[in-house]
Amino acid sequence: MAWRQGRCIRTGVVLALCAALGTLAWGGSARAQSAAQSRGHSLIIVQAQDPQNWDPIATFLLSWGMVGSNIFDALVDRGPDLKIRPGLATSWKWVGANVLQFKLRRGVTFHDGEPFNADAVKFTFDRLLGPEGAKGPQQGNYKSIDHVQVVDPYTVNFVMKEEDPVIITKLAGYGAMIVPPKYVQEHGSAYFGANPVGTGPFKFVEYRKDDHLTLAANPSYWAGAPKLSVVTYRFVPEAATRVAELQAGRADIAQAVPVSQANVVKNDANLTLMPVGSPTVTEIRFDPSKAPAGDVRFRKAVISAIDVQAIIQSILAGYGHRVSTFQSPLSFGNDPSLKPYPYDPGQAKQLLAEAGVKSGTEVTLSFPSNNADFREAAQAMVSYLQAVGLRLTLQPVEQVTYFSDTVPHAKTGQLYEFGWGGWTLDFDNTAYLLYHKGEYWNPVFSDADVEKYLVAERSTNVQRARLAAFMQLDRRLYDLAIDFPLWQQVNLWGVNKRVQGFTAPPDDRVRLLAVSVK
């Protein structure tokens, strides 16, 4: 009897606990939203990575751009519409064959009170092009600049040592963010990297590595005061945890929502899923030095044998756009008239027969092992190629090893994956570094026509002439089928509905000046 009584009590306790949990769970969504609203005019962003160093010349990471674009300004700016507009320079013009002159904005101060002027611009570029910049990845982007000359306190000349038709766009890049000379000299680069000071709409407050960084509004910002009072970036590497933070109302914006979690965000009454096409394109490259990839018929057979659209629909849940060359539609130099080769396994078999490739021929596809989406796509490709008589072996390689050893030393299989962003959104950045003979990531491929078009687009600042050269280059690469362009990546952002005025940026450079919360 006592045992029965005990069991009844225990059962009652368990049921009561379940009821309590159920009630709490049922009210979770409403409580999540009230938690978000309790933050008032402060905003929390969860992003995947902490770049560890906020010095603009020390990084290439998109995670830097998400934060740094709100702390720093450059002479020119590239907004979410990806158009170039004035930044700390109000105007610019070529005043000689190799001299680009900028007129600077007056009355701007750095967050520490130091004035912005021509000396700050000169200091920024002397530092970038000198020994300090040599330690980071940004210096190489600006090697066309010989030096910066101060004309007067609000005028500077960029003296170029070689033609660089993309220089204006590059001056909106991370490495060209203007830094405060006195502050950097007094405190040193390591301190500056952990306590950044710029002229941007938000100023640095606090940084705890691998945890969070906090910014406060800069009320005297030259383009007007921000609407938000405080912005906190939290670094949450695990995607499921980022989405959980958003669902729990502890974050307002989550970067890099994985495809597998897209519906979780979409179906949450408090959240909006914002997909945006990014500059990043994923493709398979062929190594023509490894048989049978040297034969264009084999390359076209592989391209015809794989239904990329079906892979995009099934593995990427539709979050990807097909591309015909190794650039996104956002890129200057993209030829929209070129259409991707159609999926046609019959054509693939015929091309393989013409190329003398026997059924059962083994080919290898190398790819960085951390790319989960591509790994799934590659597994589907095994079946597609098997259907036309090719045996595809998958060779995943650790990412850093892949990019610093496997690709540059031509240790890949006949096929290998490559993803590319082209940060300038100009095909030059992709084309020259990946198709020009002898470049770090192009140890094998060369073609006389391709070289000719690359020289042509680089030898003039006349954009129309460059575009014409790119159209010829696109066609030549398309005909050679040296790559198998797969899809333009679509980035997914999760945003709480209380956030107003937020535009998901294609290049991850979140601009918060116009963002508010209700």
Binding site: G28, Q52, A190, D210, R234, E238
Partner: protein
């Protein structure tokens, strides 16, 4: 005792030297920090890579690089991070507290769960409770730690919202990571406590204690548990190294700013000084804990006391 500690310290120094040499060599076998820094949107040219090797000092022969690291480490300087430009010792110091809190918290949960349950199961051998505890332990062992972590986040942070899903922001943020770690550790520990106690309870001195009329509770605590502790303490010491491995994954899931995340990022970017520094410090921790375990044997059982 002094001679024993000195001998162990000498052995530990040799182990640390071997580990640091192995790690410094191993991390340089694959991957290039100069190329890793271009991740994002850049492509290095051959000249860019050469320039960065010079600037980072990675163009020097391996033995020169290692000698510079070892010499400086002996003076307490673990070098400077390639990525952040900050001293490695400062990076480690800033994160050690978070990792220690997680490791100690997880171990505390494990001990708090494993000792009562293991003891109860041993005292009620083959009863329903024993069976349920063993099944529970098997379940705990079967959960991959990242899966358990995400389930706990979904239930306790997203649904009922009792605790924050991630971050390091006060005592509440410790609960889910420590619980995850504790459950996983406890699953093994509970079986060990049970088995060890069962073995001890079958010893003649337990029969003698009972025959003397000593209350059962005292028999279990004073004679049973104390003698059963020896293999358990050994296990905890050995487990400490493995625990740090588990912490790396949990720090990632819970966005915990500890040494695990620092090491993971440093390996991803081939930040040689940080990898070397973190491994040496963690190895030092493992060696120190195992030394303490050896010394604790004497307290638990006077027959194995040294010197």
């Amino acid at each position: 005792m002094t001679r024993f500690v000195a001998a162990r310290a000498g052995g530990a120094a040799a182990v640390l030297a071997a580990i640091s040499l192995f790690v410094a060599f191993g991390i340089r076998l694959t991957g290039d920090p100069a190329v890793a820094m271009f991740e994002g949107a850049g492509a290095p040219s051959v000249q860019d890579v050469q320039r960065m090797h010079q600037a980072l000092g990675t163009d020097r022969p391996f033995l020169v690089q290692y000698a510079a690291f070892a010499g400086a480490a002996l003076r307490g300087d673990l070098g400077t991070s390639f990525r952040s430009g900050e001293p490695v010792s400062a990076l480690i110091a800033a994160r050690a507290g978070a990792t220690l809190a997680l490791a100690v918290g997880g171990m505390a949960v494990a001990l708090a769960v494993a000792f009562p349950l293991g003891t109860y199961a041993a005292m009620h051998r083959d009863a329903l409770a024993d069976f349920l505890i063993r099944v529970g332990s098997l379940l705990g062992l079967s959960f991959p730690n990242f899966w358990l972590a995400i389930m706990l986040i979904l239930i306790f942070a997203v649904r009922v919202r009792w605790f924050p899903p991630s971050g390091y922001s006060g005592p509440a943020s410790l609960v889910l990571p420590c619980l995850t770690l504790g459950v996983i550790l406890a699953s093994t520990l509970v079986r060990l406590v049970r088995a060890s106690l069962l073995d001890t309870l079958g010893q003649p001195y337990i029969r003698t204690a009972r025959a003397k009329g000593m209350p059962e509770r005292l028999v279990i605590v004073r004679h049973g548990l104390r003698n059963a502790l020896l293999p358990v303490v050994t296990f905890i010491g050995l487990q400490f190294g493995g625990l740090l491995g588990g912490v790396v994954i949990l720090e990632n899931v819970f966005a915990w700013p500890g040494l695990g995340q620092l090491a993971l990022e440093a390996v991803s970017y081939r930040d040689y000084p940080v990898v070397q520094g973190v491994v040496v410090v963690l190895a030092l921790g493992v060696v120190a804990v195992n030394l303490l375990v050896d010394l604790s044997y004497g307290l638990l059982n006077p027959r194995v006391r040294v010197g």
